[in-house]
């Protein structure tokens, strides 16, 4: 059985795994995020939806520390992570993927996974020269886990290929599997289904459900409402940088404000996928 959750991270507790309170971000006078407030419930899959330009990716960038928050507060478990350095947030168990896949192109597929564990004894010069057994043991454990994940995600046969040689869909899978290798408590997925074929959409949906079953909380930006309906427990709707509504997909369909701001245009445009 593949294990996901890193129980050593301080994102433990009973309340929401992430609390986002009134965060704002402006770019040259334009408020990209304007007071977004929502909770991400623990061990659930939450979708972040909204029209283009609603500020979804900016929110993910703010939560993961890739951008500085102008005002507001973000709490991961019991830890205030507002404007904490990005790598420190990652070490607390918050992993993310990117809207356009960002593979480590000069590394092989296997190395992309092996680099993911957050703190490795083999990254210390002292250990490299004076504790070779520890390195070997750690590397073996990481290798076994990486191989297991690659098999699960169907990338095992590509393990020795350079990551830049992969197709778009394979890069999406690599990015997700790399995040899994890092044992996240909370995994932010930025449009994991974008630009992939319907069969792969089903597969990725299955992988996300599998993560949830293993105790990982997921917050995903997604435009494909069929997918949202099928796998997400909770939905947060953003519009103009604000939280418009939260609830289940069926609840949101009854919400006139949400239908006017976002769902209406989707429904009028016909079913996606």
């Amino acid at each position: 059985m593949m294990t996901y959750q890193d129980t050593t991270t301080p994102a433990g507790g009973d309340g929401p795994i992430l609390r986002c309170e009134g965060i704002t971000k402006a770019f040259g006078g334009v408020n990209a995020v304007n007071g977004a407030t929502f909770d991400v419930p623990r061990n659930k899959i939450t979708a972040l939806i909204g029209p283009n330009g609603a500020g979804k990716t900016t929110v993910v960038n703010l939560l993961s520390g890739a951008m500085k928050i102008d005002s507001g507060k973000v709490q991961l478990g019991t830890t205030d992570i507002t404007n904490m350095e990005r790598y420190k947030i990652a070490r607390l168990g918050l992993m993310r993927t990117f809207q356009l896949s960002r593979e480590l192109g000069g590394l092989t597929v296997l190395e992309n996974l092996l680099v993911a564990p957050k703190v490795q004894a083999g990254e210390s010069l002292f250990n490299i020269f004076f504790r070779p057994r520890l390195l070997k043991r750690e590397e073996r454990q990481n290798l076994e886990r990486a191989v297991e994940i690659l098999r699960t995600y169907g990338l095992f046969d590509l393990r020795d290929n350079l990551a830049r040689e992969l197709s778009g869909g394979q890069k999406k899978l690599l990015e997700i599997s790399r995040g899994v290798m890092a044992s996240p408590s909370l995994f932010l997925l930025d449009e994991p289904m974008a630009g992939v074929n319907p069969a792969l959409i089903d597969k990725i949906g299955g992988y996300i459900l599998d993560m949830k079953a293993q105790g990982v909380t997921v917050l995903m930006i997604e435009h494909n409402l069929n997918v949202v309906e099928r796998i997400c427990d909770n939905v947060v709707v953003l519009a103009e940088g604000r939280t418009l509504a939260t609830g289940t997909m069926s609840e949101l369909r009854e919400n006139k404000e949400v239908v006017t701001a976002y769902l209406g245009e989707i429904i009028n445009a016909g079913p996606s996928h």
Partner: protein, 354 residues
């Protein structure tokens, strides 16, 4: 005949010395992606400090310099390496947190020019434009070596030092630390999102590379007995870049090849050739043009270098050769042969895959 061997071993010295310098720049640029255009400054600090700690107190001599500890080899050399690392801490603190790629390169080349002017003009530091001279030749007195014999001896010492440093560098680049360096080179944002403190790793890489630069510089002054600002014009950095680009960025064997072609055969060998009649010094200019053309040709037709970076393959533990149903999974022959071992890595060249 003795003169011939003097020339040969002088070339051998520069081959190994530039191999060390190339390894230092390679871990910074080739492995971690730090475009260190100030590299020659670190080499110079290594050379000056090694020289200044080897020399006796400057009071009563014609030279002005700090230190003057009369420190014996190899402690003098280590002092040069450590001094270059200290400079790296300062430079990294100024540049690495805020700057990336081309901006970082511009600031570094500016710092290199500032350092050059300070050392050239502040005579009390390292004797200004005259530089340091009469630096003792290591072991020459103890072993009663003639100047020719010293060249042979020190070229061999440098060869041994370069092999030790090669072994150390290989250990680092093959370790998880080396992998993290390459992750940062490929995409520092992704590395950071994976929990890697990019600044800390870049600083580590700068320190390692600077130590190699300092040792390389220290060996130059111990070999020649003198060092002055004409030896480290800021453009010299690009000779070391040429070594690693021609040889193969990210490949230690390629670096040795680059040091042989660029530094030994193109820069130092022609220095021993007789002048073209009526055109004194012309060979030097032709030399510079050949290096420039070679660099352009390499970047155009074979940017990965003569011996490209290696793609790491991992032999899997025996249990991993079975899939979940217990069936055997295809594995490359070398993997099967090593299946009993817990872990081993083999490598192929990236260029071979194209």
């Amino acid at each position: 005949m003795a003169q011939f061997w003097f020339y040969v071993f002088t070339l051998v010295f520069f081959l190994f010395d530039y191999f060390i310098l190339a390894m230092g720049l390679n871990i910074q640029y080739g492995e971690t992606g730090i475009l260190n255009f100030a590299y020659i400054g670190f080499v110079a600090i290594g050379a000056y400090v090694t020289g200044a700690v080897s020399l006796p107190n400057s009071v009563g001599t014609a030279q002005q310099y700090i230190f003057g500890f009369n420190l014996p080899f190899p402690f003098s050399l280590l002092a040069g390496g450590v001094a270059a690392m200290l400079l790296a801490v300062v430079v990294a603190a100024i540049t690495l947190r805020r700057l990336r790629t081309d901006y970082l390169a511009m600031v570094l080349i500016s710092l290199s020019l500032v350092l050059y002017d300070v050392i050239n003009n502040y005579v009390r530091l390292f004797n200004g434009a005259d530089g340091l001279y009469n630096v003792p030749q290591p072991m020459a007195g103890v072993l009663h070596l003639t100047s020719n014999a010293f060249v042979v001896f020190f070229a061999c010492v440098t060869g041994v030092i370069s092999l030790i440093m090669w072994a150390g560098m290989s250990r680092i680049t093959r370790s998880p630390l080396g992998r993290t360096f390459r992750a940062i080179r490929d995409d520092p944002d992704v590395a950071s999102a994976l929990g890697k403190g990019v600044f800390r790793y870049q600083l580590t890489s700068m320190l390692i590379g600077s130590f190699y630069a300092g040792i390389g510089g220290g060996l130059i002054i111990q070999f020649g007995g003198s060092f002055n600002p004409t030896a480290w014009l800021p453009g010299e950095t690009f000779v070391v870049f040429a070594v690693i680009i021609v040889g193969g960025v990210g490949n230690n064997v390629g670096l040795l090849m680059g040091a042989l072609l660029v530094e030994t055969l193109l820069i130092h060998l022609p220095a021993f050739l007789p002048d073209i009649p009526g055109h004194a010094g012309l060979i030097e200019y032709i030399d510079a043009m050949v290096i420039g053309i070679m660099l352009m040709v390499m970047l155009w037709f074979r940017p990965q270098g003569i011996i490209p970076e290696r793609v790491r393959h991992f032999a899997l533990p025996a249990g991993e050769l079975l899939n979940r149903d217990g069936h055997s999974v295809e594995a490359p022959p070398e993997t099967m042969n090593n299946a009993a071992s817990t872990l081993s890595a083999s490598e192929t060249h990236e260029g071979d895959r194209a």
